[in-house]
Symmetry: D5
Subunit: 135 residues, 10 copies
């Protein structure tokens, strides 16, 4: 058993493999993931695990520079959006965030290192992590 807070072997390996500027996407259960993009399935049932719980765990282990979310989240899922900002503020790194449209977010998926599919069932609740380095 590892000590770092991230118990999932493939997730640990993914985090260790991520290079500077590469992206890892945390997805709700409905995001259409392209066939060629690697995926890690975490979703068990509706809301389990939630995207933000997974995000907290990942941010404890992965160096992240910036996150991108769909601009639709602020309007359609304002509470989730607020909790996302809280989660980012509690991260060990100072993480900026920006927005693109949900369509642009979906169009960026083929370039992602991997998509982590959670049990999240909140509309538009997907987050692109831009990986960083600590040197």
């Amino acid at each position: 058993m590892n000590r770092s807070g991230l118990l999932h072997p493939e997730l640990s390996a993914l985090v260790a493999r991520a290079g500077h500027t590469q992206t890892i996407v945390l997805a709700d259960t409905g995001l259409p993931i392209p066939a060629g993009t690697p995926r890690i399935e975490l979703g068990v049932s509706a809301g389990l695990p939630s995207l933000l719980d997974v995000l907290s765990a990942v941010l404890g282990e992965l160096v992240v520079e910036r996150v991108t979310v769909a601009s639709e989240t602020r309007q359609h899922s304002p509470q989730w959006h607020a909790r996302l900002l809280d989660t980012l503020q509690q991260a060990p790194d100072r993480i900026t965030h920006d927005e693109i449209t949900h369509d642009a977010l979906k169009a960026s998926l083929p370039g992602a290192l991997a998509v982590i599919r959670t049990g999240e069932v909140t509309p538009y609740a997907n987050v692109i992590l831009h990986c960083g380095v600590n040197f």
Copy 2:
């Protein structure tokens, strides 16, 4: 997206493949899983997802006749044991349960159809599901 309450593709396939009397094991994060036994990794971080949350989701979809737990759980993890019994009572099937020693439970793992590893961090918190049929 499926309607049955079980969002995980490999988990759904496992449940669909399980034959009468075959066993599926829900495991805490520390159970020593033999190299040849198929495993599905669900654990993200300590306690996420909990074994009982995963059990509830699985019982909603898998026909189960009986569960087996380590006899050590009643003494060392009595609260978890009580919540386990609650979870079983809320299942759609009438499920009996019995106990074996933790050592016997570990010795049975090579014969399991698969082990589902959760984020559970309660001592001895593992459950063997004996699969049933509804005809």
Copy 3:
């Protein structure tokens, strides 16, 4: 054995993997499926299982927004077309349907998540399912 009504492991996993707006195609036994498109073979003999029986089973488990059929079906296989509409009306979701030409339907196959090949032997009897989410 699972409880959801869909007994096939690969089919269960496919349904659990399907994202919003992705397509799954139910095919008669003669549809030319492109080499790179994943396929699930269900057809045993002529008419077994029928496409509509498989469709009923899938609609019980997969959230579907809309279906697309070849416009040729209404003219060349009117009885099958009528039974298809009945099947859609008995689905748990409200499902709209539209039509494209058979040639356009064939041209869309490389983008499908998978093609499910049934034993159907009715001319033009193929259905594109546009997957939805329930949140």
Copy 4:
């Protein structure tokens, strides 16, 4: 599309590969299939396709000398047993049948060439086919 009445590619290949005295098992949806035994999944939903419909299709293409069923079928599923005998009589070959206990049937599965899992939901409804040759 092939002309022989058996539309399923893996099933066609299995039939073509079967040697004299080797066994192929047709199973209901609940038979516990050993991990190392090849399996072909045909079951879509409860009863679809039925074992006897699949048997008819297979007997049209595979040379079979003899079938073995569980002795429990005659008592617990007498109607199914009667329909099985009808199906065997309509086969192109003269096929004898014998009985073993359900436990003995399950114990023989590791030696089978493959198990074909149908949607059958009748208790004890499994059939061992002993393959023959026509020369």
Copy 5:
């Protein structure tokens, strides 16, 4: 052992998988088969098996609408060409045939479902089968 006359497992599976309008190519032993095209090797020694013997066996099992041969065959291998026409006339389906240049035939190979390589050693003796359906 199967009853349909086609004893080869991969060939049986190929025939069962072929969709309407897809092509299967029967080749002499020297046709340059592109690296990405699936191939089934049947050729044992010069002339064994001959392409026309394989064609007869395949036509007994595969529904074929039309065949295409190189226009060079009529001039350079007239006897083989005549025997090909005989073979087509004895097929269960009514099969039309047309001609393209040998270069066009070679250029079409990347789009074929598979190439079946025989032991044929007659110049230009290759046949494209255009698969049909019987409904």
Copy 6:
């Protein structure tokens, strides 16, 4: 295209890999080949190719010390047995032959380097080749 008379790539590789005293079995279409034994499928239809035609081609390329046949062949398939002796006499090596029972022949299959399945449909017509070296 190779010059040695053996056109089949896997067969050529098998012959090149065979060590002194290892066995390669030429089989009729009904021999029950164990699951773990490598097999090369050559059989197309009943009698095509015949075992003896394949044997002639193989003997032209493989150094063989001795062959073993089922003792049943002499009684049940005397004509085939006579033609087998002719074929052996025309081989480039001096090849001795001996007999074992058909049951012993089947029991030896798990130790074979590979089984080559032909289209032969003569009862008991199987031949074990004991590979040699020419130095």
Copy 7:
């Protein structure tokens, strides 16, 4: 890039997969690793990386209860043995250690979860890690 101090993806995944009482072996470059035991190759050149540098990194991430070393190390490589004890004392867990003969250590390798091969070139310098849990 991950934050936990262990940069190697397969090593991170191995640590995350290790169950209570399972063993991971850190090996010098000459240990005879059995063919069936998973191995992670880290050794680049003589002494790079050293086993103790790798051990420090692993102990920062893996929960370890106990280590086992060959009893030969104290006599033949006393300085390395002393540095090993130092390394263990600086680990976050309290780790006990015991000794077995080098032959017994080699005999235990088939049961290890994995062997991590370093660039160590000190005689008998191998360490068995007995994995623990922190709950």
Copy 8:
């Protein structure tokens, strides 16, 4: 052991698979082989085996119409060039040869059926074989 003079299983299979006009390249040990091109490694140490020794062995088994070499060989490796011509003259087929620049030779490698890498250490010593048929 085979009789044809070519002892290498993959090489034998490659020769048996080669179609008319396809190319096989014999390479010195330094030729930059593209990642996607199949390769057979024969080189053991400097000069072992030499390209011309391998060429002699291959020409004894593969039907070759023509070879292409880099025009640089005549000037930079004239002795090797002369020995190449000798080798070609001793081949069973009448083989023509032509020249292209070394850069053009390297640019043609992605289209080759395979590259056979020898131990040759003579500058520019690479040969493209254009495969033929003997019918």
Copy 9:
């Protein structure tokens, strides 16, 4: 154990496979490596092993003509740059070096034979090796 100073099996094989003008990249732990580029993971923890230690080991075994580094290294990591030049001067070959921008270096990665990821944590510390031959 090998004698050449390079103990890592995949690294040894990579060096043996490298052709003239092909590139191998030594990378710090944060370089974004494209998904399709082969990678060898050597990094254990921050600085272990360092890129220059790995470079020394590789230069002892691989023939290198030239290296390319990011022009940013001279300004942002001047000490590392100086040590790199020292390392190159101690190599058995005379190795020239040139510079490109870090962006151009990243853009060249898809064409590399492989990327070797070290534990280096110095900004911009990546080196492209242009492979040579010694004949």
Copy 10:
């Protein structure tokens, strides 16, 4: 291109992987290699490459403690045996040799790390290398 004298990638990797006391077998072209033993094919044609040429190349890179040969070699292939002793004396290590019967040598093959098959055509000419370390 590597500098160590061993140009073959798989051979280089094998040498780098070999642990103390593990065995690598150099074989003539006729040794019956068990199906489960890894093999590296080097033999091109009769005598090319010879076993002793390969042995010289391997001894230049692999640390070897001892070799074992068949006792039959001294009597049946005395010249080869003498040249073997010469080759061993020119090796960088001091290598002892012992003898076992050819049957015992063949019986030891399943335990070998790998068998390297050369083009050697001298009777009984096989050598077991017992790998060593240089620390």
